[in-house]
Symmetry: C2
């Protein structure tokens, strides 16, 4: 619903990435005058994705926002559903673990193609997107942005009613906010980095592995994962320590690299025709968690998405959280009837605990994916949880499902999950649990949990 005051108000967005272009669509549909500036060139022309990961996992929260702005049909064409995790052990043996029940999937999607779709849709609605315009300063009180054109070097100033920074983990707007008194901020890097390596289609033009799974090679302190692409290739990502043994630092040449893959990921080597070429050419990227508060300043500026809460990628929720930000901001604009200082205050107060929660969940999932998914006790506890969910479908919902297949606030998903973990820890101490688990008193287990009914969605 368009707001009465909207047509009078101008909004400048910094960043035409996934979150920025979706937010532009939301705001334009509400009637605001929206202009976007992005420091990068138009990615539809260059075909680059700016050094970011190639594919992402789209799940319920992100999909819901895309659906709200009428893009469900278009987006579905880009999605490759993944029904579960396929674990590869050191001998090449496979174990499949479904993500949820029938129909509950996460979707591999190309960052570049989704971004293209959103940028094109925003422009179709009348949003003006200016590429190659780098934000070099912001006057927070005046909502005035200073921009530098990357081609000409020309500097210009743009003043609007509102400035929103959707300019990612290294947000220029947030850098300015950081110098404001009483702005809390942290950036923490993992000891691990990541590197992408591709698996092309087979000679016969097919996927090299099951394309309805997210593949994981969990190896304790590190892991490899692979997501399918529409062109029947996979993109693998090696999450690996920067230093130590083994690490990015410890593999010096093709011989060492191949020997390491041969002993550690034996079943994948044959599918990587250019392993060494890509490994030594592709960048090693770092993984950062960024937290800050407040997200708004002087009632005129706001940061959103990675700009206000960058997380590690292990829950596949970075984009989904950013898209959910857009949906919730849109709701809050309605609730507060277009009063921006009130909108910003209400939005950040509501959303900050959820942003903190998904940061925690994302980090925990790293430990789970690289380490625990190979542990028989962990797999048994997941089996018991699946049974609990089967018997009490609205009363015991695994944390993964709440996060991935529902709209429950992340902070609630985290809190309920912590309760479930404590309960499951006690359950797993039952003598001979490996053989007796089907005789557990499942009702008593569910009754130990504080009750809240949650509805799961397939998309």
């Amino acid at each position: 619903m368009a707001n009465k005051r909207a047509s009078l108000e101008s909004i400048t967005l910094l960043g035409a990435g996934l979150v920025g272009s979706l937010l532009a669509i939301y705001l334009k549909r509400k009637g605001y005058h929206v202009t976007v500036f992005d420091k990068r060139p138009d990615l539809r022309k260059t075909g680059e994705v700016g050094g970011r990961s190639i594919n992402l996992a789209l799940s319920r929260r992100g999909y819901r926002a895309l659906e709200e702005v009428g893009l469900a049909g278009e987006v579905q064409k880009l999605m490759l559903p993944m029904k579960g995790r396929m674990m590869h052990d050191e001998k090449g043996n496979l174990t499949h673990q479904p993500y949820g029940k029938e129909g509950q999937v996460i979707n591999s999607i190309s960052r570049g193609r989704l971004n293209d779709l959103l940028v094109t849709e925003a422009e179709k609605l009348g949003v003006k997107i200016n590429f190659g315009e780098k934000c070099i300063d912001v006057d927070l009180k005046a909502a005035r942005v200073q921009l530098e054109n990357s081609a000409t070097g020309a500097v210009s100033k743009v003043t609007s009613d509102i400035v929103i920074g959707t300019d990612g983990a290294f947000s220029a707007l947030r850098n300015v906010m950081q110098k404001e008194d009483r702005f809390n901020y942290s950036q923490y890097y993992l000891e691990h980095g990541y590197k992408e390596i591709s698996i092309p289609p087979t000679a016969s033009g097919d996927f090299a592995m099951d394309h309805q799974s997210l593949h994981i090679w969990p190896r304790g302190k590190f892991m490899l994962i692979a997501l399918p692409n529409l062109d029947k290739s996979f993109t693998c990502t090696l999450f690996f320590p920067f230093s130590g043994q083994p690490s990015f630092e410890s593999l010096h040449n093709e011989k060492e690299l191949v020997a390491f893959f041969q002993s550690t990921f034996p079943d994948i080597l044959a599918y990587m025709p250019d392993l060494a070429g890509e490994y030594f050419k592709n960048p090693t990227s770092s993984l950062v968690t960024i937290k800050c508060y407040p997200w708004s300043s002087h009632g005129k500026t706001l940061i959103l998405g990675d700009a206000s809460h960058a997380i590690v990628p292990f829950y596949g929720q970075g984009m989904n959280a950013g898209f959910e930000d857009c949906r919730i901001l849109n709701e809050v604009i309605e609730e507060q009837d277009g009063d921006w200082p009130a909108i910003f205050e209400a939005f950040q107060k509501q959303r900050k605990p959820d942003a903190d929660a998904i940061a925690t969940l994302a980090f925990q999932n790293f430990i789970e994916m690289r380490d625990k998914v190979a542990d028989p006790d962990f797999l048994l506890s997941k089996k018991i949880e699946a049974r609990l969910h089967q018997l009490f479908s609205t009363r015991w919902i695994p944390q993964y499902s709440m996060t991935t297949f529902s709209d429950v606030p992340y902070a609630e998903a985290l809190a309920i999950g912590q309760q479930q973990s404590a309960i499951m820890e006690r359950v797993m101490k039952t003598p001979n649990i490996e053989v007796t688990w089907e005789q557990l008193d499942f009702e008593a287990i569910v009754n130990a949990l504080d009750q809240r009914k949650i509805t799961l969605k397939t998309q």
Copy 2:
């Protein structure tokens, strides 16, 4: 001892505050070619202290460094020894709690006069200090600093072998480092701010209160403190929430202010002739804790003091920690024989846990000062600890004494203190402890503590 290579090497220091000017002295004495740039004007000419607190508590760690560079005699002339805390309750009743044993004192010292002394000494040794030169950028790999002259606006570049940032909590050098990959960083503000109010000498020209104490008005969620000055005035600092009831936000005018002081700090009101004038004129400053790592970059730059570890002021250790940084860096330069990349690596590795520990201790002392010092149980436990220390002077040393009167690394003081707290918590559960405490088995209590002998110093 001057290093052989020292005379060949040039060091640029950013910031001629307390830590910068002391470090300049240390490095010049070693034979390095030292140049300092400070964005502020020469404070010996302006008499200002740049909006920072007026007086500080100098204790063992800071004094040791000053003594090492031969300034003990000069510094002593500026020191006002404080033997303990003087607590003022809501009725104006006083309770005195000594900081340590006879001769163990902390010293109130004027920030401005100590800074003048250090800057003058550095210049005397041949250090060139350039005032009014603001660092606007640093090339970390080239050790090249870009400066802007505040009078002329002229921009100049200075390249040296090494750049060290002693430019405080809002360090320009650290701001550049923050943009480097894998630089961990956090800035967290307290919900409390502070405001200074002065107590002039009495009509007869004397101190208005006991000048050998640090005065505290502990009031639970907030507090007032006062430190004596050489001119027989006191400087009071109100540590108070920014918002809520009561807070800086809740006192709107002279009437409300005076009524609040009348009911909350009744015994001090008469000594503050210009309470409202100062309260409504003086700034309300915020309190930040800053942590980061690494402290060095490319083997050419280092940050030190508040620039790498700004803490809240409640343990009186900010300056002491910064001076101890200088002493330890000086030692590490010797140990590593002037090899700068090795010096920086060894220094930051050794010192980071101590910087984190004093940040924790400083925050804990805020809770202790504003809240616990008025609690009878707390006072009893301190009395028992004092007895333990009296009986076993090298085996049970209160945490405050380790931090304030010894050179034990802060991280050790924190760890031993945590053990002591756990032991004391059990001791305090003894039935009727208030009346039976003298019958405790003190030897058994001390034996429960992991043993490490620590020597305390009077200065």
